[in-house]
Symmetry: C2
Subunit: 104 residues, 2 copies
């Protein structure tokens, strides 16, 4: 099962790292604890809507931009395996492709 909080955490961490900022800096700006932000980034904790807004504010990234990135990644992860693979890839290989897509 593809979990929203895991993709959301990936996107938030990438946004922070693109800006070269630390967990400490962003958590202070967002007024959330460092541990909470870290758990959100690792997909271990659901961010409440209020705290998600705070984190986006601290990153100076619109929530819509974050959610667009999340939906793009979800679409990639959810896309069906293309038909040609049915012929080209043996059973074990197809499973590997499925796993790669799910992990992307």
């Amino acid at each position: 099962m593809i979990l929203l909080r895991r993709l959301l955490g990936d996107v938030l961490r990438r946004q922070r790292q693109r800006q070269g900022r630390t967990l400490r800096e962003v958590s202070a700006a967002a007024r959330v604890s460092l541990g909470y932000l870290s758990e959100v980034e690792r997909g271990q904790k659901e961010a409440s809507s209020e705290l998600l807004s705070s984190i986006c504010g601290a990153l100076d990234v619109p929530l819509s931009t974050v959610m667009r990135e999340v939906s793009d990644e979800l679409a990639l992860a959810e896309r069906p395996i293309l038909d040609p693979l049915d012929d080209a890839v043996p059973a074990g290989g197809r499973l590997a492709v499925t796993k790669m897509v799910a992990a992307a």
Copy 2:
């Protein structure tokens, strides 16, 4: 503050209503309580990632489709008031436009 759970609830309710299905039907299919689904649709409760997946599964709509709709609505709600309005709309009118955008 624009809250993710409120827009998400709107999108989920619209998806259900487009299919002409009741809260009872979808909550049973998703194996969540009717009260929980109702609260999620009204933006009163954060849906966990697992239950959000279940609800999307019950609606037979990819999570990516739901999140794309959410991000589109967020982008509309977050867009800055266009410059021409500064000249064309008096102060009270501009506030009304801002509220309309926020409520959209």
